[in-house]
């Protein structure tokens, strides 16, 4: 999947197709255009980052795809279905900036929750939770409670939970935003490996240019007021090696293609208005 840039001719149904999506929030008499006529297509298995200044509507777009909010106009399709149908069919897994683990459940029970709600039996839940905790490297912590884990570990549990039902689409809203740089880079490498293993499409909201460039097949750059897509920057890195270890990932972060992508994204963010506020410098 690493080279599947804008796979417009993919045989499978696209993971996400947004057509003319607009979201207007009403605050009394004031209207806030969070999103204005956004068109976006995310192919199956593609890793797409949404980046832009605060208030550009990137989180809003993610919430619309997740059916946590409804567009004012325009249409959205998730694997050819409406977002509501996709949500009820559990087509996607989601993770936020906060891990959002239930404090009274153990790590294992947290990961099992979506499975229990989907009616998976006890044995099946156990087996799947074991797999997932192994995948995120937390097998030894399965009986701990969330308050006994570090922020990074909690976030890994949240990712395992999002992957519980093997979704073909992962929605992530700044999942590493609250973590320190070391943990962040470590989890980025792990996420790349997991995305490759599960062949899931990912829509990833972030503030960080290097993060977007490192992870994504395509970085979608948005502008604020009204929120719209300014441009999309394809990134070609050989990410297959990123999961091999920290050295391989570091090498990738030192590759000319990576710096080139970072520069292009930054340029795109500044382009037009020169007001790329709220974006982290690399």
């Amino acid at each position: 999947m690493s080279h599947a840039v804008s796979a417009g001719h993919d045989e499978r149904a696209a993971a996400v197709v947004a057509t003319g999506v607009t979201r207007v929030f009403r605050d009394g008499a004031r209207e806030v255009h969070a999103l204005a006529a956004v068109d976006l297509r995310v192919a199956a298995g593609e890793f797409v980052s949404l980046i832009g200044p605060s208030g550009c509507g990137k989180s809003t777009l993610l919430r619309l795809i997740a059916d946590l909010d409804t567009p004012t106009s325009g249409t959205l399709a998730v694997f050819g279905r409406s977002p509501r149908e996709a949500r009820l069919a559990r087509d996607y897994g989601i993770a936020f900036q906060q891990a959002g683990l239930l404090p009274w459940r153990t790590v294992r029970a947290n990961v099992e929750l979506p499975l229990a709600l989907a009616g998976v039996g006890r044995g099946g839940r156990r087996e799947r939770a074991d797999e997932l905790l192994h995948l995120v490297g937390l097998t030894d912590f399965s009986d701990h409670h969330p308050d006994q884990l570090s922020g990074g570990m909690q976030q890994r549990v949240a990712i395992a939970r999002a992957l519980a039902e093997s979704p073909s689409l992962l929605l992530m809203d700044e999942p590493f935003g609250a973590l320190d740089e070391m943990t962040r880079e470590h989890l980025q490498s792990q996420l790349l490996r997991i995305a490759a293993e599960t062949k899931a499409a990912v829509v990833f909201v972030t503030h960080s240019i290097p993060e977007a460039a490192f992870l994504s097949d395509r970085v979608v750059v948005m502008s604020a007021r009204p929120g719209r897509i300014r441009t999309a920057v394809p990134v070609s890195l050989d990410r297959a090696v990123a999961g091999a270890g920290p050295d391989a990932a570091d090498e990738l972060r030192n590759a000319p293609a990576f710096f080139e992508a970072v520069a292009t994204v930054r340029e795109a963010l500044r382009g037009g208005h020169g007001d790329a506020l709220g974006v982290d410098a690399p």
Partner: protein, 286 residues
């Protein structure tokens, strides 16, 4: 262990204060104009604590074969406890159902919550005869309304309030992120209630249950007095008050019984709290 010692010490402190006042306080109390602010210190008004205790081990009355006072108090307490427990149970169920209804439908919350608050301003004494007469008119096949049920209903009237308010706060307490995660799992209202809202409500519910237990005990004793139900602590307080002049320590016995009842009730709720410890873990913070 330390807490037990502290509790005993505070008991001794209260008794000492009592005795100290009877020793040094003015015989006729202390009045400001016609209002007496401090009580008389006579043995009639303030019997010695040791007299109250020894009185417990003497027979209730001069009659032959009369049981000791402490046993009579315990027996009355047992009846009152059973009624209070029933009242507490009814109050908890009604309060919880009200809270769930209020959480489920916004309109219900804005319509019912003021009524719930208003309900507690109606004096219990005014309510007791009403409940008793309604109960007496109730006929459901072979089911017969017994006087103690009126007392339990009145007790539940006091007990449901803290449960309704605490439970509502509790089931409204989950963060948006948790509610949205449940939504993303396609969980419906019921699944969200049982897996998220109810567990999250436990820390709010425990103090509410403790308040409800105390309220149920008070409600029971007061309702026993005002409906005239014989056999319980309420009636005993009323009867023994007649002995205030001839046998001053005696009226204190059922009051101690009431205190004991409250302690047992609070203890049972604390036990309930122990078994639900895992729901009170600090919220996970990143």
């Amino acid at each position: 262990m330390r807490r037990v010692v502290a509790a005993l010490l505070s008991l001794v402190a209260v008794a000492s204060l009592w005795e100290l006042y009877t020793l040094v306080g003015p015989d006729d109390g202390w009045s400001l104009g016609d209002t007496r602010l401090l009580p008389r210190t006579s043995d009639l008004a303030m019997p010695h604590t040791w007299d109250m205790v020894t009185r417990l081990f003497e027979p209730v009355s001069g009659g032959t074969g009369a049981q000791p006072l402490w046993l009579a108090v315990l027996r009355a307490g047992r009846l009152s406890f059973g009624i209070a427990l029933a009242g507490w149970g009814i109050g908890v169920v009604v309060g919880a159902l009200l809270a769930i209804a209020m959480q489920r439908v916004r309109i219900v919350e804005s319509a019912v919550l003021p009524l719930v608050v208003l309900s507690q301003t109606v004096p219990l004494i005014a309510l007791a005869p009403l409940v008793r007469s309604w109960g007496a008119q109730l006929e459901l096949g072979s089911f017969e309304w017994e006087p103690w049920m009126s007392v339990a209903v009145i007790a539940s009237y006091l007990a449901f309030f803290p449960v309704a308010v605490g439970m509502l706060r509790g089931i409204q307490s989950p963060d948006t992120i948790h509610v949205e995660l449940m939504r993303s799992y396609g969980a419906g209202w019921w699944a969200t209630l049982t897996r998220l809202r109810l567990p999250a409500a436990v820390p709010h519910l425990l103090p509410a249950l403790r308040l409800a237990a105390a309220n149920a005990v008070i409600g029971t004793v007061v309702a026993e007095v005002s409906t005239g139900l014989p056999g319980g602590l309420g009636r005993m307080i009323l009867e023994f008050a007649n002995f205030a002049a001839s046998d001053p320590p005696k009226p204190w016995a059922p009051i101690f019984g009431g205190v004991l009842l409250g302690l047992v009730a609070a203890g049972l709720v604390a036990l309930l709290g122990r078994s639900s410890r895992r729901f009170r873990r600090a919220e996970a913070t990143a």
